[in-house]
């Protein structure tokens, strides 16, 4: 394997997403202020019910983290569908680098781009709604956050491979994986409130455990209702991160083979 070529391919694919932060300022409105509207609505709903203030923090944290899930769905999972529609996919396939380096580039670029947006949303939400944080272990919080992202984008790489053959179904699949996942992963409330089995099932999505662990490390109060301890969740997230990346590698090879055999890699407007 030509490491230098793949290294360059990875950064080449990450580049448009990283540089996009400064080249396309409209994201400030669309990706920071607009999500705040939804976050504000949920906060006012909690406040209208007389909920303790800690829930405001839960909503701001969950609302900021939705950016990563949306990015994974639309800019990782469905990305090869877009590439197929615009005619880029065939160029990727005839280029001499590994397709995994393209996926890794998409993930790194997506993490950076979305990280800036999510952080901006969180800071604005934090300031606007007077969120009370109790961070006692910032190193652990950082570790949980980073490992969550690696596992999440590993899952995105796996999805991307599985979506490779889809037509319009890819768009609809990503569309349907938004609200139901916000629900079962506990973006706006502790996931344990959904019951043990739902929480256990939803743990396959890294953001479920990531959010639960981050809530434990950022807030203080009985309302946190931890599903597992953050240490256990961190270990599971590490396992998920490795598992998803390996599964993505296998799935990519298999789906590419299937796509070539069935002649669906260049099929547009399905």
């Amino acid at each position: 394997m030509d490491l230098q070529l793949n290294w360059r391919a990875m950064w080449g694919r990450a580049y448009p997403r990283i540089i996009g932060v400064q080249r396309e300022p409209s994201w400030i409105l669309f990706d920071i202020f607009l999500p705040l509207l939804g976050i504000a609505a949920f906060i006012f709903f909690y406040r209208a019910m007389g909920a303790p203030e800690i829930y405001t923090g839960f909503v701001v944290l969950g609302g900021a983290m939705t950016a990563f899930w949306i990015n994974v769905l639309w800019s990782m999972a469905a990305q090869f569908y877009w590439e197929k529609e615009t005619g880029n996919l065939q160029l990727y396939l005839i280029a001499p680098m590994s397709r995994m380096s393209v996926l890794a580039g998409m993930a790194i670029g997506g993490m950076f781009l979305t990280g800036v947006r999510a952080l901006s949303t969180f800071i604005l939400g934090f300031l606007l709604f007077d969120v009370e944080l109790e961070v006692t272990n910032p190193a652990a919080l950082l570790a949980v956050f980073v490992v969550t992202l690696i596992a999440l984008y590993g899952m995105g790489m796996l999805f991307s491979s599985l979506y490779l053959l889809y037509g319009r179904g890819a768009w609809h699949l990503s569309n349907i994986l938004q609200e139901p996942i916000y629900l079962v992963s506990g973006f706006y409330f502790p996931v344990k409130a959904m019951g043990f089995w739902v929480a256990l099932g939803a743990s396959i999505i890294p953001i479920t455990l990531g959010l639960d662990a981050m809530r434990q490390l950022m807030f203080d109060g009985e309302q946190i209702m931890p599903f597992l301890t953050w240490q256990v969740e961190l270990v599971i997230l590490m396992v998920l991160a490795v598992g998803f990346v390996l599964a993505a590698r296998y799935a990519l090879h298999y789906m590419e083979y299937l796509g070539k055999r069935e002649g669906r890699l260049t099929l547009r407007w399905q």
Partner: protein
């Protein structure tokens, strides 16, 4: 008029095919209802975490549930109208052909949104049935004020379509922001129109915004039509009679109609002048 109705019919058929023929009917049916029900269940869980049972605060629960269910129309229909421009121009690259065809472009856009209205209606009915059967939502079919509900739905949907037409006009001038514009406006309505909580919880400037938008009055009329009088949470409009609120709904809808047509015509002229009708930005 006959030609316009024909345009509406075939645009609706085209919209339905694009909406549904990517999969089998059963999967499509599940797909169509799971998303809105999940969105409602998020709020249900939030409510249950705080209050434990629907019976604790039935007026809060009913307010939130009914508001959120009917808000589906705002989100889905707006999306249905606005995304037509983006989809036809960028994805299928057929906008220019449709545009020069001897049909009413308004009727074409509205026709394409009709399947969204039908699908949303099915999803709303299923969500309400789920609420009544499994969560104790206090709606009794015999006690619903059907004439008021049907009248409110007609005016409300017309208003939502008009707002969508205005946004479709704006999206003729933008490259990739159709989704953002749509979600932004829908998000603004979600926050300011008393969908899940009374507008009295908003700061004063927020209440002023809410009172200027017809969706606020539409949701209030719908709640009065479907919920029992003793289970109405004061939305901030309790002092007004249903007739007064309906008049405010009509007045603000009329204002939005004029604004919408003005915005669409201006954007349409500008798009033709700047050659944006057939632009392709690969988004």
């Amino acid at each position: 008029m006959k030609a316009n109705l024909r345009t509406l019919k075939y645009a609706a058929w085209l919209g339905w095919q694009m909406e549904s023929n990517w999969t089998n009917p059963w999967l499509f049916a599940i797909y169509s209802i799971i998303k809105p029900i999940s969105a409602t269940l998020i709020l249900v869980i939030m409510y249950l975490i705080i209050w434990g049972s629907v019976l604790e605060q039935p007026e809060i629960f009913s307010y939130m549930f009914v508001g959120n269910t009917f808000y589906m129309y705002v989100a889905q229909v707006l999306f249905g109208v606005v995304f037509v421009i983006h989809e036809d121009r960028e994805h299928y690259q057929t906008l220019k052909q449709v545009y020069i065809a001897p049909i009413s472009f308004y009727f074409y856009i509205v026709g394409r949104a009709v399947p969204k209205i039908v699908i949303t209606t099915i999803a709303a009915v299923i969500t309400l049935a789920f609420g009544v059967l499994f969560l104790g939502l206090p709606i009794k079919l015999g006690a619903v004020n059907w004439p008021l509900l049907l009248l409110a739905m007609a005016v409300g949907l017309f208003c939502i379509l008009m707002i969508g037409i205005a946004l479709a006009g704006v999206s003729m001038l933008t490259a990739k922001h159709s989704m953002g514009i749509n979600e932004g406006i829908a998000g603004m309505f979600y926050l300011f129109c008393g969908v899940t909580f009374p507008i009295t919880f908003l700061p004063t400037w927020g209440q002023v915004i809410g009172l200027a938008i017809p969706i606020t009055y539409w949701l209030e009329v719908v709640r009065r039509a479907v919920l029992p009088a003793d289970l109405q949470w004061d939305s901030g409009l309790a002092a007004y009679s249903t007739g007064d609120i309906f008049l405010m709904l009509l007045a603000t809808s009329l204002l939005f109609l004029v604004l919408s047509l003005g915005i669409f015509r201006y954007a349409d002229r500008l798009a033709r002048k700047k050659g944006k009708l057939d632009m392709s930005t690969t988004y």
